[in-house]
């Protein structure tokens, strides 16, 4: 790596780490979470970046260089459809197969009991042994090829396990190499490592489906609660083993269904087990979490406040970022705030004004990271992304 690139990288890493700790760096870091915007900018179709991960990595590097990003996700198009093809997941619609090559991948959640990947009477089996339940019951339902222990074995089943495992190994190795290239070619920090999901979100997203779990919380609430408690230590370990071993960059939790339930239900089903995962990662492993609050999580700020100081970086999507700053800005760093519709339909001047206001209010004492409200898609204009960079460089120095 050229000496000056190493220097740039070290400066950016320090800037990123300092802001994440809710302290004042030399300047507000630019840390966009950008998905299909990168591929459009680099001239690739959604099919190309979803299926050929080296193109996805390269598209991110193009943007990181051109927009001077301090830190970013090495590939925000997180589903590599090659693995989906090899292991046979049924719940994705993939660009170039079921979708137009220029449309991003889509997740199709089961809408009824018949389609649910976990049935209403299977809570006990999940609670008794979560990993075995996933391997023996859930995977045969979500994969075209995998069969359960009660079925006759098949060649395609054996090969799906083989190719699924090899795919993940190959992808993991490629991500490591891409992180290094992002560092040496762009001086940009790969900003996030392992994933966390709230146990309740796993039930709602991938196991029962939202409609089914919405009935379960009334019909069998004790089992829903016990299932969240049973999943908790596994989801904690899953995040821990995938986290950055040097502990320099955080893991992230992608928050989904917690805002769609009442206070009582949030308190009972969603919050306790998620809180425990985040606290364990922070107190036992020294790992921070990006609290990626998809939607508007302002009504639960009183709970988020219970987390230890500096344990999370609060990413505000549709919430009121100024209210978030008022309520939790003394405890946690905050990111986000630039509306995605402004990046798509606004002017560079309007983008710069919003960025300036964010820096001068949310970021006035440090602990702020510049980003859009939500993951940046192909509708964002390049000139507006450039304006976000220019405003950060112009107004963001301390």
């Amino acid at each position: 790596m050229p000496e000056n690139m190493e220097k740039v990288y070290q400066e950016r890493l320090e800037r990123y780490k300092t802001a994440n700790r809710n302290e004042k760096p030399d300047r507000v870091p630019l840390r966009p979470f950008a998905a299909e915007f990168t591929s459009k900018y680099a001239g690739y179709t959604a099919q190309e970046v979803t299926h050929e991960y080296e193109k996805a990595f390269e598209a991110v590097r193009r943007c990181a260089k051109d927009f001077q990003w301090d830190a970013t996700v090495v590939n925000m198009i997180y589903v590599w459809s090659g693995l989906v093809d090899h292991f046979g997941q049924k719940y994705y619609k993939v660009p170039g197969i079921e979708l137009d090559p220029n449309v991003g991948f889509q997740y199709f959640e089961p809408a009824d009991e018949q389609g649910a990947f976990m049935k209403e009477d299977e809570y006990d089996a999940l609670i008794e042994s979560p990993t075995e339940f996933l391997a023996n019951v859930w995977m045969p339902r979500i994969s075209k090829y995998v069969v359960g222990p009660q079925d006759s074995n098949t060649y395609r089943n054996n090969m799906a396990w083989l190719k699924g495992g090899l795919s993940l190994m190959a992808y993991g190795g490629a991500v490591g190499a891409a992180n290094e290239k992002l560092k040496t070619e762009c001086g940009t920090v790969s900003c996030v490592s392992g994933p966390i999901k709230a146990p309740f979100d796993i039930l709602a997203d991938k196991l029962r489906g939202f409609r089914q779990v919405s009935m379960d919380v009334y019909r069998q609430p004790d089992k829903v609660q016990k299932a969240c408690e049973a999943l908790m230590p596994y989801l904690y370990m899953n995040a821990k083993v995938a986290a950055d071993p040097t502990k320099q960059v955080p893991v992230s939790v992608w928050l989904h269904r917690g805002t769609m339930f009442s206070k009582d239900m949030y308190e009972r089903f969603f919050w306790p087990t998620l809180k425990e995962i985040i606290i364990k990662l922070w107190e036992e492993d020294d790992i921070q979490t990006i609290w990626y609050a998809e939607g508007n999580w302002d009504k639960w700020l009183q709970y988020t406040k219970e987390l230890p100081e500096k344990s999370i970086i609060y990413h505000s999507d549709k919430g009121d970022i100024f209210e978030v700053h008022k309520q939790v800005g003394d405890k946690f760093a905050i990111s986000g705030g630039v509306p995605n519709d402004l990046l798509a339909f606004g002017t560079p001047e309007e983008v710069k004004e919003v960025c300036k206001k964010l820096i001068q209010t949310v970021g006035k004492d440090g602990g702020y990271l510049m980003d859009a409200q939500a993951i940046i898609q192909s509708d964002a204009k390049a000139e507006n992304m450039k304006a976000m960079t220019e405003a950060t460089l112009e107004y963001g120095e301390y």
């Binding site: 292991f87 075995e132 995977m139 230590p233 596994y234 899953n238």
Partner: protein
């Protein structure tokens, strides 16, 4: 079917696998360490399909 009930970070507990050896003439800890190293990766595969893919 008997459940193995793997803990977080494992898919086939060492205690189950250990009983499958007829005899161990050398250092059992070497076998255990290698077994558990790959267990974590295999655990991550199962749970990565659930959480990442």
């Amino acid at each position: 079917m008997e459940k193995l009930k793997p803990k977080p970070g494992e898919i086939i507990p060492w205690e189950v696998h250990e009983k499958e050896y007829e005899n161990i003439l050398g250092d059992k800890e070497i076998l255990k360490q290698e077994w558990q190293n790959l267990e974590v990766i295999a655990f991550r595969f199962i749970w990565a399909i659930l959480t990442d893919f």
